[in-house]
Amino acid sequence: MTTRTTPVAARGTSPLARHRWAVEAVAAAVFALALVAYGSGASFRQDYVVLICTYSLLALGMYIPYIMSGSLSLAYNAYLGIGAYACGLISTRAGWSSLWGVPIGIVLSAAIAVVLGLATRRLTGFYLAGVTLLFAVAFQVFLLDRVSLTGGPVGMPVRRPHAFGYTFTRYDIMIGAVVLVWIVGLLLSRLRQSPFGVVVRLRKDVPQVVESSGISSGTIGVVSLAVGAAIGSVGGSLFGMMGGVAQPESFGLHIIFLAIFMPLLGGQRSPWGAVIGAVLVVVFTFELHILSDAGTLFFAIAILLVLRFAPLGLLGLGTPLLRLLTRLRMGRTPGGEGS
């Protein structure tokens, strides 16, 4: 055995890299505060912020199975719907606080994701996407047809959440939504760097290595799907509580097709890319009045441009810049560290 060397991670890295988690938490908190500040204005802005947070949680939910693990499940409108309808059912049928719908939605969504994951265990790529898309369609039909349970096309009310005698306002819900995205984003960012995240990412590119290391690639895939579904369900719960209603049209397939591109637009190497993508989707499709109805078209064009000129997404553009700055600060020549 040779003499122990200093771990490379701790050898000659920049202060920015050494305090990575703190920097990331603070940067995300600044972004979260900006969102809260924006939402503290006119009432409709609170809806926008919660919509951004809902889409962010949807994109973060898809991040583990889709971007990290390479399993494209298209059933996420169902998980969003389950979160919202769980809050509606628990508050209107049982008379409980709709907050109880959050854990119920999480468990139900994760359970359905596990069942779907096991059923599609041997499927990948297009076939997995196709089967889960069928489930997404079936879920929407279920919401429309099961009038006695779901209220049919008009949906069902979701009562304002309350706890310990306090009823949460729309502003409170908005704050909660922003904090949730901040927490989930940070946790996923840490998860990505952890052994679990490394194994999940290896599964995407070299599943045979995962298998030959004694780890069931299928189990990793199913757990990834379950965690992602649980996160998506929380987004649906927030959306339902904010809007006061759970309707089938809110959980259509259009959401999925937007969600697929959120991390591609924002950046794939960090969960924050999914959040940036979600913000851009809402801005393009709802907020930019100058674009009128062409917002979705502009979103599509933006996707094309990003895929062409920044394959790692907008956040990916920052990495080479940061590396260059670090090298300049440390007085190293390009490639010096890796040689």
Binding site: S194, F196, V206, S212, T219
Partner: protein, 256 residues
Amino acid sequence: MDEILLSCSNVSKSYGGVAAVRAVGLELRAGEILGLIGPNGAGKTTLVDVITGQQTADTGVIRIGTVSLTGPPSRRARLAGFARTFQHPQLALDMTVRENILIGAVPDRFSSPWRVLASAFSGAARPATPEIDDRITDLAAELNISALDRMCADLTLGEQRLVEVARALLRGPTVLLLDEPFAGGDPRGVEGMIHALTRIVERGCGVLVVDHNVDIVASLVDRLVLMDQGQVVFDGLPTAAMASQEMRTVYFGSGT
């Protein structure tokens, strides 16, 4: 070196009408380095794939100790303590060297669905693994792998093979299967690899080395198995193998 770790008896595998492996019998003992050589298409890699479960045998039995080995690769790897490298290096090219090696240290954390879930939660809470990082750094130094934070896409073929070997060694395997580990390697890397192999067989590990570099393999192994057209044609000491009629016939096409 008496305990038989791995045994194959009457193992066959065909692809359509082509018999890649034909009624092969093989034994690997504890503390032994076994070389498996033969020309292209001899069935060496197919045999390794069948042993580890990447391919399913048509006939035959593979045992680890006295236990018959069946099921998917992950189950076999857990049961048998297998670790392997591949003929074509299997690395995630857009991940770092350290990340590609790390998986060798963590299989126990993923042995059941509940442990996988627990690993996800604990990973979010505490992503850093300093004790594993230290082990990776030590192993990398031994194998002459530099700059662990490089992307694997930036590595030469020889370096990629070293990373695969490091990943397999980190697992602390009972049976190590190396498929062409020396191809494209630089002398320092090969030297480090041989040193590491010598060290793990001293601990009772069994190593199966598949390679085309007959000279290196013959100087390293305790026993040499020669395959040709899916069959074992010689099994014995390296010196005997190198001087054998079968070796001349397989590699030079004549018995003279």
